[in-house]
Symmetry: C2
Subunit: 149 residues, 2 copies
Protein backbone atom coordinates (compact mmCIF):
# COMPACT_ATOMS: atom_id res chain seq x y z
CA UNK A 1 0.00 0.00 0.00
CA UNK A 2 1.11 3.52 -0.76
CA UNK A 3 0.84 6.31 1.76
CA UNK A 4 -0.70 9.68 1.05
CA UNK A 5 1.59 12.65 1.38
CA UNK A 6 1.33 12.82 5.13
CA UNK A 7 1.34 9.63 7.21
CA UNK A 8 0.10 11.68 10.18
CA UNK A 9 -3.20 11.98 8.27
CA UNK A 10 -3.58 8.21 8.43
CA UNK A 11 -2.77 8.29 12.14
CA UNK A 12 -5.51 10.89 12.62
CA UNK A 13 -7.97 8.77 10.63
CA UNK A 14 -7.14 5.84 12.92
CA UNK A 15 -7.64 8.06 15.97
CA UNK A 16 -11.09 9.05 14.65
CA UNK A 17 -11.85 5.38 14.10
CA UNK A 18 -10.88 4.72 17.73
CA UNK A 19 -13.22 7.48 18.96
CA UNK A 20 -16.08 6.04 16.91
CA UNK A 21 -15.46 2.70 18.64
CA UNK A 22 -15.57 4.33 22.07
CA UNK A 23 -11.80 4.17 22.51
CA UNK A 24 -9.60 7.08 23.58
CA UNK A 25 -8.75 8.58 20.17
CA UNK A 26 -5.11 7.79 19.45
CA UNK A 27 -3.83 6.42 16.15
CA UNK A 28 -0.39 5.44 14.85
CA UNK A 29 1.40 4.20 11.75
CA UNK A 30 4.84 2.76 11.05
CA UNK A 31 6.30 3.90 7.74
CA UNK A 32 9.23 2.58 5.71
CA UNK A 33 10.37 4.50 2.65
CA UNK A 34 7.02 6.20 2.21
CA UNK A 35 4.99 3.04 2.68
CA UNK A 36 2.82 2.29 5.71
CA UNK A 37 3.84 -1.16 6.97
CA UNK A 38 1.87 -1.13 10.21
CA UNK A 39 -1.14 0.72 11.53
CA UNK A 40 -2.76 0.76 14.95
CA UNK A 41 -5.29 2.55 17.08
CA UNK A 42 -6.25 2.20 20.71
CA UNK A 43 -8.12 -1.07 21.28
CA UNK A 44 -7.87 -1.29 25.08
CA UNK A 45 -11.61 -1.40 25.68
CA UNK A 46 -12.54 -3.71 22.84
CA UNK A 47 -9.80 -6.23 23.57
CA UNK A 48 -9.89 -5.69 27.34
CA UNK A 49 -6.17 -5.29 27.17
CA UNK A 50 -4.74 -2.16 28.86
CA UNK A 51 -1.50 -2.61 26.89
CA UNK A 52 -3.23 -2.36 23.50
CA UNK A 53 -2.10 1.20 22.77
CA UNK A 54 -2.19 2.62 19.24
CA UNK A 55 1.58 2.78 18.76
CA UNK A 56 2.13 -0.63 20.35
CA UNK A 57 -0.44 -2.13 17.99
CA UNK A 58 1.17 -0.35 15.03
CA UNK A 59 4.66 -1.54 15.97
CA UNK A 60 3.53 -5.15 16.38
CA UNK A 61 1.64 -4.97 13.07
CA UNK A 62 4.78 -3.63 11.38
CA UNK A 63 6.98 -6.32 12.96
CA UNK A 64 4.57 -8.99 11.77
CA UNK A 65 4.35 -7.57 8.25
CA UNK A 66 8.11 -7.14 8.03
CA UNK A 67 9.18 -10.44 9.53
CA UNK A 68 12.81 -9.54 10.23
CA UNK A 69 12.35 -8.15 13.74
CA UNK A 70 14.08 -4.95 12.70
CA UNK A 71 12.44 -1.61 12.11
CA UNK A 72 15.61 0.47 12.16
CA UNK A 73 14.77 2.15 8.86
CA UNK A 74 11.19 2.92 9.88
CA UNK A 75 9.46 5.96 11.35
CA UNK A 76 6.50 6.07 13.72
CA UNK A 77 3.72 8.66 13.46
CA UNK A 78 1.40 8.85 16.45
CA UNK A 79 -1.25 11.39 17.47
CA UNK A 80 -0.22 11.42 21.16
CA UNK A 81 3.13 11.45 22.93
CA UNK A 82 4.03 7.81 23.70
CA UNK A 83 3.80 6.51 27.27
CA UNK A 84 6.55 4.72 29.19
CA UNK A 85 5.57 1.28 27.88
CA UNK A 86 5.42 2.46 24.29
CA UNK A 87 8.67 4.43 24.55
CA UNK A 88 10.29 1.19 25.70
CA UNK A 89 8.77 -0.68 22.76
CA UNK A 90 9.99 2.01 20.35
CA UNK A 91 13.54 1.60 21.68
CA UNK A 92 13.35 -2.21 21.47
CA UNK A 93 12.12 -2.02 17.87
CA UNK A 94 14.88 0.52 17.13
CA UNK A 95 12.61 2.87 15.21
CA UNK A 96 14.53 5.63 13.45
CA UNK A 97 12.23 8.55 14.05
CA UNK A 98 9.11 9.35 16.09
CA UNK A 99 6.66 12.04 15.01
CA UNK A 100 3.98 12.76 17.58
CA UNK A 101 1.13 15.29 17.69
CA UNK A 102 -0.16 16.24 21.17
CA UNK A 103 2.08 16.21 24.22
CA UNK A 104 0.88 14.16 27.17
CA UNK A 105 2.11 15.83 30.37
CA UNK A 106 0.38 13.17 32.49
CA UNK A 107 1.25 9.92 30.72
CA UNK A 108 3.93 10.84 28.19
CA UNK A 109 7.47 9.50 28.50
CA UNK A 110 9.30 11.25 25.66
CA UNK A 111 9.25 14.98 26.50
CA UNK A 112 7.48 14.45 29.82
CA UNK A 113 7.64 11.90 32.64
CA UNK A 114 10.70 9.64 32.52
CA UNK A 115 11.93 11.16 29.21
CA UNK A 116 13.14 7.68 28.38
CA UNK A 117 15.08 8.43 25.20
CA UNK A 118 17.27 10.93 27.08
CA UNK A 119 18.25 8.42 29.79
CA UNK A 120 21.64 6.69 29.85
CA UNK A 121 19.89 3.29 30.18
CA UNK A 122 18.03 3.82 26.91
CA UNK A 123 19.84 1.56 24.42
CA UNK A 124 18.31 3.17 21.33
CA UNK A 125 16.99 6.71 21.06
CA UNK A 126 15.05 7.65 17.93
CA UNK A 127 15.04 11.17 16.57
CA UNK A 128 11.89 12.84 17.94
CA UNK A 129 9.71 15.44 16.23
CA UNK A 130 6.97 16.48 18.64
CA UNK A 131 4.04 18.86 18.29
CA UNK A 132 3.07 17.94 14.71
CA UNK A 133 -0.57 19.14 14.47
CA UNK A 134 -0.66 19.15 18.27
CA UNK A 135 -3.75 21.36 18.52
CA UNK A 136 -5.78 19.09 16.27
CA UNK A 137 -4.87 16.01 18.31
CA UNK A 138 -5.51 17.73 21.64
CA UNK A 139 -8.90 18.95 20.39
CA UNK A 140 -9.82 15.42 19.30
CA UNK A 141 -9.04 14.11 22.78
CA UNK A 142 -10.79 17.03 24.48
CA UNK A 143 -13.99 16.46 22.49
CA UNK A 144 -13.91 12.74 23.25
CA UNK A 145 -13.62 13.22 26.99
CA UNK A 146 -16.10 16.13 27.08
CA UNK A 147 -18.74 13.92 25.44
CA UNK A 148 -18.25 11.31 28.16
CA UNK A 149 -18.59 13.57 31.17
CA UNK B 1 -4.27 -25.12 37.06
CA UNK B 2 -2.79 -25.15 40.56
CA UNK B 3 0.58 -23.68 41.34
CA UNK B 4 3.27 -25.42 43.30
CA UNK B 5 4.37 -23.73 46.51
CA UNK B 6 6.56 -21.22 44.79
CA UNK B 7 5.47 -19.54 41.55
CA UNK B 8 9.04 -18.36 41.05
CA UNK B 9 9.91 -22.03 40.40
CA UNK B 10 7.60 -21.99 37.40
CA UNK B 11 9.18 -18.74 36.22
CA UNK B 12 12.61 -20.42 36.44
CA UNK B 13 11.33 -23.44 34.51
CA UNK B 14 10.10 -21.06 31.80
CA UNK B 15 13.50 -19.32 31.79
CA UNK B 16 15.21 -22.70 31.29
CA UNK B 17 12.78 -23.44 28.47
CA UNK B 18 13.74 -20.10 26.88
CA UNK B 19 17.45 -20.96 27.10
CA UNK B 20 16.81 -24.35 25.48
CA UNK B 21 15.11 -22.51 22.60
CA UNK B 22 18.08 -20.16 22.19
CA UNK B 23 16.33 -17.25 23.86
CA UNK B 24 17.80 -15.10 26.64
CA UNK B 25 16.61 -17.06 29.69
CA UNK B 26 13.86 -15.04 31.36
CA UNK B 27 10.55 -16.49 32.54
CA UNK B 28 7.47 -15.01 34.19
CA UNK B 29 4.08 -15.95 35.62
CA UNK B 30 0.99 -14.01 36.71
CA UNK B 31 -0.68 -15.47 39.79
CA UNK B 32 -4.14 -14.85 41.26
CA UNK B 33 -4.98 -16.37 44.62
CA UNK B 34 -2.37 -19.08 44.30
CA UNK B 35 -3.29 -19.99 40.71
CA UNK B 36 -1.13 -19.26 37.69
CA UNK B 37 -3.35 -17.46 35.16
CA UNK B 38 -0.64 -16.47 32.69
CA UNK B 39 2.84 -17.68 31.85
CA UNK B 40 5.48 -16.34 29.52
CA UNK B 41 9.09 -16.63 28.51
CA UNK B 42 11.25 -14.63 26.15
CA UNK B 43 10.24 -15.33 22.56
CA UNK B 44 11.95 -12.39 20.83
CA UNK B 45 14.08 -14.54 18.53
CA UNK B 46 11.46 -17.11 17.61
CA UNK B 47 8.74 -14.57 16.92
CA UNK B 48 11.14 -11.93 15.56
CA UNK B 49 9.45 -9.50 17.89
CA UNK B 50 11.76 -7.46 20.13
CA UNK B 51 8.80 -6.64 22.39
CA UNK B 52 8.07 -10.30 23.19
CA UNK B 53 9.55 -10.22 26.68
CA UNK B 54 8.72 -12.92 29.24
CA UNK B 55 6.68 -10.69 31.53
CA UNK B 56 4.90 -8.99 28.66
CA UNK B 57 3.93 -12.38 27.27
CA UNK B 58 2.79 -13.50 30.73
CA UNK B 59 0.70 -10.36 31.28
CA UNK B 60 -0.99 -10.67 27.90
CA UNK B 61 -1.66 -14.37 28.52
CA UNK B 62 -3.20 -13.50 31.89
CA UNK B 63 -5.33 -10.72 30.39
CA UNK B 64 -6.56 -13.09 27.72
CA UNK B 65 -7.33 -15.86 30.21
CA UNK B 66 -9.04 -13.46 32.60
CA UNK B 67 -11.06 -11.47 30.09
CA UNK B 68 -11.90 -8.51 32.34
CA UNK B 69 -8.88 -6.35 31.53
CA UNK B 70 -8.09 -6.06 35.22
CA UNK B 71 -5.28 -7.79 37.05
CA UNK B 72 -5.40 -5.68 40.22
CA UNK B 73 -5.56 -8.73 42.45
CA UNK B 74 -2.70 -10.49 40.67
CA UNK B 75 1.03 -10.78 41.30
CA UNK B 76 3.85 -11.10 38.77
CA UNK B 77 6.87 -13.34 39.29
CA UNK B 78 9.74 -12.78 36.88
CA UNK B 79 13.34 -13.98 36.87
CA UNK B 80 14.80 -10.61 35.77
CA UNK B 81 14.06 -7.03 36.76
CA UNK B 82 11.51 -5.67 34.26
CA UNK B 83 12.61 -3.18 31.59
CA UNK B 84 11.01 0.21 30.88
CA UNK B 85 8.46 -1.25 28.46
CA UNK B 86 7.45 -4.02 30.85
CA UNK B 87 7.32 -1.70 33.88
CA UNK B 88 4.88 0.43 31.87
CA UNK B 89 2.80 -2.65 31.02
CA UNK B 90 2.77 -3.69 34.70
CA UNK B 91 1.42 -0.27 35.67
CA UNK B 92 -1.21 -0.36 32.90
CA UNK B 93 -2.38 -3.82 34.01
CA UNK B 94 -2.40 -2.59 37.63
CA UNK B 95 -0.64 -5.66 38.98
CA UNK B 96 -0.63 -5.74 42.78
CA UNK B 97 2.86 -7.04 43.42
CA UNK B 98 6.04 -7.76 41.44
CA UNK B 99 8.55 -10.35 42.59
CA UNK B 100 11.73 -10.38 40.55
CA UNK B 101 14.94 -12.38 40.84
CA UNK B 102 18.09 -10.81 39.30
CA UNK B 103 18.54 -7.07 39.09
CA UNK B 104 19.29 -5.66 35.64
CA UNK B 105 21.49 -2.57 36.06
CA UNK B 106 21.64 -2.11 32.28
CA UNK B 107 18.05 -2.62 31.19
CA UNK B 108 16.01 -2.66 34.40
CA UNK B 109 13.48 0.09 35.14
CA UNK B 110 12.28 -0.80 38.63
CA UNK B 111 15.30 -0.41 40.93
CA UNK B 112 17.56 0.80 38.12
CA UNK B 113 17.19 3.08 35.11
CA UNK B 114 14.06 5.21 35.13
CA UNK B 115 12.75 3.59 38.36
CA UNK B 116 9.31 4.01 36.85
CA UNK B 117 7.20 2.99 39.85
CA UNK B 118 8.79 5.73 41.95
CA UNK B 119 7.99 8.49 39.45
CA UNK B 120 5.13 10.96 39.93
CA UNK B 121 3.85 10.17 36.41
CA UNK B 122 3.42 6.49 37.27
CA UNK B 123 -0.33 6.06 37.70
CA UNK B 124 -0.08 2.69 39.47
CA UNK B 125 2.87 1.39 41.44
CA UNK B 126 2.86 -2.26 42.51
CA UNK B 127 4.56 -3.43 45.66
CA UNK B 128 8.01 -4.68 44.61
CA UNK B 129 9.99 -7.55 46.11
CA UNK B 130 13.36 -7.76 44.35
CA UNK B 131 16.28 -10.14 44.70
CA UNK B 132 14.25 -13.36 45.12
CA UNK B 133 16.78 -16.09 44.18
CA UNK B 134 18.83 -13.41 42.46
CA UNK B 135 22.03 -15.47 42.31
CA UNK B 136 20.30 -18.37 40.60
CA UNK B 137 18.79 -16.10 37.95
CA UNK B 138 22.06 -14.23 37.37
CA UNK B 139 23.92 -17.53 37.02
CA UNK B 140 21.39 -18.78 34.47
CA UNK B 141 21.94 -15.64 32.38
CA UNK B 142 25.73 -15.78 32.81
CA UNK B 143 25.88 -19.38 31.61
CA UNK B 144 23.68 -18.58 28.63
CA UNK B 145 25.83 -15.69 27.44
CA UNK B 146 29.12 -17.50 28.22
CA UNK B 147 28.07 -20.39 25.96
CA UNK B 148 27.44 -17.96 23.11
CA UNK B 149 30.76 -16.14 23.23
Amino acid sequence: MTTPDNPMEIAFALAEEAAAAGEVPVGAVVVRQGRVIGRGRNTMRETRDPTAHAEFNAIRAALEADGTGRLGDCDLYVTLEPCTMCAGAIAHARLRRVYYAAEDPKGGAVDNGVRFFAQPTCHHAPEVIGGVQATRAAELLRRFFAARR
